[in-house]
Symmetry: C2
């Protein structure tokens, strides 16, 4: 999440190196490699190898929802993965709760875009200027 927000923040047309993201977000570069690999395979970013390489968002920030990103990087967003093989009388009632929760969660994350987050970041910075 912080990775994509960082790419959105530095979305100037020039590729962004993971080393720089790692430094800014205080996350290990090696760990970022694994996250971005998922985002790359999902087609969310464009990668450029070699010197002056790095990553860029493929689309403008308003086209990425938090849900899209989290589903790639964290798998399903359900608090409990509902396993149909185990669907029996006993779990029917709890399954209904998990479904409602999943809907509520998706409803939140699918309505927040990277652009929203950029704006929040702006607000926060303005706070300090006062």
């Amino acid at each position: 999440m912080l990775l994509m927000l960082d790419l959105a923040t530095y979305n100037t047309g020039e590729p962004v190196r993971l080393r720089d993201v790692a430094k800014r977000q205080q996350i290990s570069e090696k760990y970022l490699e694994q996250i971005i690999s998922l985002l790359n395979k999902a087609g969310f970013v464009r990668s450029i190898r070699g010197p002056q390489g790095g990553y860029m968002l493929k689309n403008p920030p308003e086209q990425y929802t938090v849900g899209m990103i989290l589903r790639q990087t964290e798998g399903s967003l359900a608090p409990v993965v509902y396993d149909d093989a185990n669907s029996n009388e006993r779990e029917f009632v709890t399954a209904r709760i998990w479904t409602q929760l999943e809907e509520a969660i998706n409803n939140v994350v699918d309505h927040i875009t990277l652009k929203d987050m950029l704006e929040w970041q702006e607000e926060q910075i303005n706070q300090y200027i006062i």
Copy 2:
């Protein structure tokens, strides 16, 4: 959760033994002991020791929300525990997302009561009669 639902289902005025709950819900009795201990300390159930002992709901099922129960048995319901000590510029934006998620989750679980779950259980049983 299944434990409280079981107590609600067999809420006849007679105490319910953990051994029976364990058999019905296919959960180890020893594990149930630890869960019910939390619910007991929270004042949700009444315990009766010795032969013919067991547990009973202290209040009628409509007075227990899923949220109340889960908060006792699973701690905070937030997907990420927001640590004020780590609250810095970097995490401000993500914290805002977690807050929205937490609100959405609470809104779901605080509006489902054990009574609702009992009714769902009924519906499910009726399904098979047709």
